[in-house]
Symmetry: C2
Subunit: 225 residues, 2 copies
């Protein structure tokens, strides 16, 4: 399975979803660089739908701050500086930490089993002679999604959905060496232990550390580039 996490290759259900995925892809791939205007009709032509679903997609991208509105109600691609990235990670650390704490309180045996199974898959992907980055990313995302669902907070899920920034994770992970990936899997193991013990504080602390390490890994990649 090719690594197409940021492309819009998977046919989504509705035209609005397709538009969202495709426009988001354009932004993340850098085809639409910061400051580029996002004109509804042009995008409608590109995606092959009408303006209506494009408008829906742009509204979502605006909420998630992929796009910002200029004074005259026009949309342009947002420019994320390093402070923005740091802030995204800070918010994720806080909110996913909170999610982990809630999950520690509520996780069922079935969910714990799912997490163990998921992390086992991650460990396999990491241990391969040539680590399977795409597999790692997919399972990593699933791992965090299981926790989010175990946290049983629709609000938290909604807020974090716009914050996950898979692209950043992905860009970072492509530079990870095996040791980094293994460390990530190890931290997941600690999380599972904390959940099994129903220790909220432990779970929150491990998750916070997990995310903040990702921030610094990302910053290292950027500065060494």
């Amino acid at each position: 399975m090719p690594d197409n996490a940021t492309s819009a290759s998977n046919a989504a259900s509705s035209a609005a979803d397709r538009a969202y995925a495709e426009i988001r892809g354009l932004i993340l791939a850098g085809d639409a660089s910061p400051g580029t205007p996002l004109r509804e009709e042009a995008l409608a032509d590109i995606v092959g739908v009408s303006r209506t679903p494009v408008r829906d997609a742009l509204r979502r991208l605006e909420v998630e701050l992929y796009a910002v509105r200029t004074l005259g109600r026009r949309l342009v691609v947002a420019d994320w500086d390093s402070d923005d990235v740091a802030e995204i990670f800070a918010l994720r650390a806080m909110l996913e930490g909170h999610a982990a704490a809630r999950a520690a309180r509520r996780a069922t045996q079935a969910q714990l089993a799912e997490l163990r199974h998921c992390n086992a898959a991650i460990e396999v992907a990491v241990a391969l002679p040539q680590p399977d980055i795409a597999r790692f990313l997919a399972e990593n995302r699933r791992f965090h999604d299981i926790i989010l669902s175990a946290s049983a907070s629709a609000r938290l899920s909604t807020i974090l959905a716009g914050l996950v920034e898979q692209p950043i994770v992905r860009r970072t992970a492509t530079r990870y060496d095996r040791a980094d990936l293994a460390r990530s899997a190890h931290e997941h193991g600690q999380l599972i232990q904390a959940f099994a013990a129903h220790d909220e504080d432990w779970a929150r602390a491990v998750m916070t550390a997990h995310i903040r390490r990702a921030l610094h890994a990302f910053q290292d990649v950027i500065s060494s580039k």
Copy 2:
């Protein structure tokens, strides 16, 4: 100025904004009780606009979880139980605490002056023979908005905008006695001190306490009803 915080009486700029305000008003006023379907055409008739701006408004209300989508892509008014309310306050405590910490680092003298002026107005409103609740609420909101703007994080502002739940604050404040209102003003004073000292931890702690007290005040009102 009458107390119309939750009504849609103020003529918003666009039809979409009017629709948003009016539909939100219907939900908050209880005219549309939990589970009530939100049909686009019916709402368009009520607001006096077409379905297009109503759709925009419903999308926003959906993101903010005022409405939830049923299996068949229909929208109904969401049902907030006490756990949801507690979760909203928990998230606000975390995020506004974070905002306060950032504001403590960044607040300018001008912003501090604005906060002092704003809180002075609150103290006046509270000290009146008949406390001016509407004024209290308006200035309270402004106080928190100034902090949010001083925190200089567009992401935080966006997330908190969907979480402020002014209606809850309002419902609570109408039951506050003068002592409660005065305590709130006092906590604002502490916040200003923390900002002036540029003490992030202090600011975060005071803000967290401020919000969590509001949660318990709200819960007391509910349980004593």
